[in-house]
Structure formats: structure tokens, C-alpha cells
Amino acid sequence: MNAQTPKPFEEVLEYLEGKKKIVLMGCGGCATIYHTGGIKEIDEMAEKLTKEGKEISKIGLPFGLFTCFLPMSSMVLNENKKAIEDCDAMLMMSCGDGLQAVRGYLEDEWGIVKPMYPSNNALGFSSGGPSDFIEECQGCGDCELGKTAGVCPLVRCAKGLMNGPCGGVREDGKCEVNEDQECAWVTIYKRLEKFGELDKLLEIREPHDWSKQSRPRTVTVEHPIDLLKELAGTKKVIESLGV
């Protein structure tokens, strides 16, 4: 998931200065989980912006519909085409992927250019939940987990060291930068000790290959999923869970 937090309302208002008709669009994926762009948060934002004199149209996506995945979000966008065409600006209550996926869709498919503003700060990949999340993977393009006991030092170590620990480990193995976190290399050491593989710590791990992260990276999926078929599968699982 892409963790996110809301921007201060004052920042949002600054973006929307001089814009009257605003379309709010959220996301049924991460933004719903993080309470930054679910249907409830869109309603709350609409109320606040109405008090500021804005005319609001809302595009809320139910849980499971992702704004960044155009086969899903385009269905909702098409239903709201008129409101979007008429608006002065869109406020995207999603991550930056959601905003830019929609921006591209409007430009490439509809040929319209609208000012689009973010209401959130996205923090990147995260895992856990329902309340507490931690960043574990940065999508570097050259996964090192096979060499580091299943713990990514590029993310879990503040310095991203491939051969740690550094000299700043606090007493009891905590990180000098993030006092609440155990040093990634202490964690790696403990895991390798349990596997009886401490000798692996004597290998010099190569510097990470950052060429795999030259941006923007693009990916082409040869046989795209059949969305309706996949959703039917999801429905079955949900029914089997008794929901």
C-alpha cells in the first residue's frame, strides 16, 4: 500500500484560491485504508470547502476500486464526465499515483486539461494494519532480501547500508536515527544466528545497483487481467467468508 497523511487544510485552500467549482475525487484503495480519501473523508472535505464558498462535486470510490488502476477508475470518471468538464479544478484525495493517473487519462482520453491538486502527502510502500504501518520495501527494482535474511537494509536501515551495522547503534541494538526501531543489521544478525548462517555476515555484499531505479520506470504487462472476471473471483471469496 501507499501510506499517506492529509495535507494541512490551509495548504489545500491555497491551491484552490480563485477556483470556484471543485471536483473532489478519492480512492477506494490505500486512501480509504489511511482515511485520507475514502467516501467519509470526501464528505468531510466537501463540507469544509462548501463553508469556504466552493461549489463541490464528489467522486467517491467504494473500497476495492483503485484510482491508480485506470480500468477501474475510468468507469467512475466516465460517469462523472460532465462535472469534471465543468469544474475549475480537481482536488485529488488519493496518492500522487492516483492524481497523475487521472490527469493522464483526462488529457490522453478526453483531451481536456484541468488544474489538479493533491490533498495528501504520500509516504510510499507500507505494510501492516489496520492501524500501524511500517515501510519495508522501496521498490528498488533489484530485490536484496535473498542476501539479507529477509530484512531490507535499504529501507530498514536509515543509512541504507548493505554492509552494516554502522557505528551509531544505540545500547540494546536500537538505531541512532530512529530510536524506536531496532538496528536493521542487529535484526539481520539475530535472524542469521537462528538459521545457523552467521558465516554469511562475512560475505561482502555488493553496493546496490541503482541503475534499476532510473526514473520514471515503466512496466508492460503482456496479458492484462480481465477485470470483471477477477472481481467475480473476489466476490466469491467474500461470500465464502460470510460477508
Binding site: 543509512k159 554492509n163 551495522p165 554502522c166 557505528g167 547503534v169 555476515l201 562475512l202 561482502i204 553496493p207
Partner: protein
């Protein structure tokens, strides 16, 4: 003779000759004059001096430029400190090749404090290499004449690469494995973080021996020229515990009004403490001491007497 046996610096010469080696520390900050003055004061007292690289992540005069200037102007041999925090592998490689043409003879590789600890907290931290891979890169430059990309270079730098160690780290085992890794990567000497307790030294050397590391190790010590200096180390430097008795005795010197008498008493407290410590050190595999007594050169001859 293998290339690895060649000796380029006085530091390595003395280590190989089996003499107890003393190194000092210079901290050029935003100005070089004080460091040059300190280098002149340390001449004849230590074999070489470390020149710090953005210490505690405060932007300071470039340590390569400072090392060169100090060496040129004072004749003090420098141990050019190079940290991974601020430069990618290309910049590190070019700096090391630069050190070669400037006649620097020793480099100490460091990970480097995290950037948020210093005066430029919004900087992008780099850490493209770490202290292990930087050590290996320098070793490969010197001994194989190849740069970071594997390209052969016509006149490889002639210098020695050393690395740091933290005897007081808790837990110690991951640190010991890293030390071993750095020795495999080509570290020719180690300088340790400051140590005060004999038991810390013993625990460390026991671990070093168990892992079969034979690289020469200089143990870091910090005679404190004031109570404040010692207190700072105790509070802010990870892995360093300053003994409470030593701290208390230094604190007591603050009561002495006469400046000269106070200095004498501070010296006495330091000599008393370090006599015991250095006597203990003689019985360990340590090949020398790295004295991080910035601004306190007058204590060094007294400390050397204890060992000699």
C-alpha cells in the same frame, strides 16, 4: 615483494616496525587556521593525524583539501577521513584518486553520522557505498590499479586504507563481524572509537581473536581537557561510557579558581586515570593509541611516558 607489502606512510612503517604508534586528531571546521596550529603543536608527539570529514554531519572544510593543506604547511602526515554519507561511489572514487596525486598516504573509511544530526538536516543522505565497500574500492585502486568501474588506471594512488571499529558497541557481535568483513575488504589498520574501560577492551580483543582478525588495531582514547568535554562524550557518543569516578574527579577541578592550578589538576586526573588504562593496554594486542584529545596536546608526552 608483493604490492600489499609496500609501505607508503610513516604510520604504516611504524606499525610494521612493531613500535607503539600514536595518532592524533584534527578537526577543520569552517576555518583551517586552528587545525594548522593544532597540527604544529602535535608535531613530534604523534606519527600522523586524522583529519575529520564533516564531523557529526556539520558541513566543514573538505577533508581532502584540509589534509593536503595541513600536510603541505606543517609536514604532519595526515590520515584523510572519508565518509560515505555525502558522496556517491563516483565522487568517492575520484576523491581517492585525487588524494593519490596530492600525496596523501593514509585514508580512514567511515560510514558517517546521519545527516539529520548536524547543521544541514535537510540534505539528501547518500550512503551509496558503506565503509566495507569503500574500503574494498580503495584497496582495489591501490593494489589492482582499477577504479570502481573496473577500468585500469595508469598511476594507482600509493596509500594505505584503514577503517573504524566500535569496541563498546552493544550488541558487540554484529560489529565484530563487520570488522572482520572490513579486514577481508582490505583494511590495513583499524582505529577504534573512544574506550575508557579495560573490560571493554578485553571483551573486544577476545572477540577479534575469536574471529581470527590480525589487522593492527589502534585504540581510541580521549583524555579530557575539561569536565564539559568528558561529559559531552558520555552523553552524546554512542558506545562510549565515561567512568563516573573520572567524571567526578574532573568535575571537582571546576572549583579551583587559579587557572594554572586547575590545569595542573585536570592533567593529574587524566594521568592518574590513563596510567591504569595504558598499563592495561600494554597487555593487549593493541599496536597503538589514537588520541582524540583535540586542543589538549600537552597531555600527550605524559601519556607516552606511561607506555615507554
Amino acid at each position: 615483494m608483493e604490492m600489499a607489502e609496500e609501505v607508503y606512510s610513516n604510520l604504516m612503517r611504524e606499525i610494521k616496525d612493531g613500535r607503539f604508534v600514536w595518532t592524533g586528531e584534527l578537526e577543520p571546521a569552517k576555518d583551517i587556521d586552528e587545525a594548522i596550529e593544532a597540527a604544529n603543536e602535535l608535531k613530534g608527539l604523534v606519527t600522523a593525524c586524522n583529519v575529520t570529514d564533516n564531523p557529526q554531519s556539520f558541513a566543514a572544510i573538505n577533508s581532502l583539501a584540509a589534509s593536503y593543506k595541513i600536510q603541505e604547511e606543517t609536514g604532519m602526515e595526515c590520515i584523510y577521513q572519508l565518509r560515505c554519507s555525502d558522496r556517491n561511489r563516483m565522487a568517492l572514487c575520484s576523491d581517492v584518486m585525487g588524494a593519490g596525486i596530492l600525496g596523501l598516504k593514509n585514508i580512514l573509511t567511515l560510514t558517517g553520522d546521519y545527516v539529520s544530526l548536524g547543521d544541514t538536516p535537510k540534505a539528501k543522505p547518500v550512503y551509496d557505498l558503506d565503509s566495507t565497500t569503500l574500503t574494498r574500492m580503495i584497496h582495489t585502486l591501490v593494489h589492482e590499479g582499477k577504479d570502481i568501474s573496473g577500468t585500469e588506471i595508469p598511476n594507482p594512488p600509493k596509500l594505505h586504507v584503514g577503517a573504524a571499529a566500535g569496541p563498546g558497541m552493544d550488541p558487540l557481535e554484529p560489529e565484530l563481524y563487520k570488522l572482520k568483513r572490513k579486514s577481508i575488504a582490505g583494511a590495513e589498520f583499524f582505529q577504534t572509537q573512544v574506550v575508557y574501560l579495560p573490560e571493554t577492551i578485553d571483551r573486544f580483543f577476545k572477540g577479534v581473536k575469536e574471529l581470527g582478525v590480525e589487522t593492527p588495531i589502534l585504540v581510541g582514547i580521549f583524555p579530557a581537557k575539561s569536565y564539559g568535554a568528558a561529559k559531552f562524550f558520555d552523553e552524546y557518543v554512542t558506545g562510549v561510557d565515561v567512568p563516573q569516578d573520572f567524571l567526578k574527579n574532573l568535575e571537582a577541578t571546576k572549583q579551583i579558581k587559579d587557572k594554572e592550578k586547575r590545569k595542573e589538576e585536570v592533567d593529574r586526573v587524566n594521568i592518574e586515570y590513563f596510567t591504569g588504562f595504558l598499563e592495561h593496554l600494554k597487555g593487549t594486542p593493541a599496536v597503538g593509541c589514537h588520541i582524540m584529545a583535540v586542543g589538549y596536546p600537552r597531555i600527550i608526552p605524559e601519556l607516552k611516558k606511561i607506555i615507554e
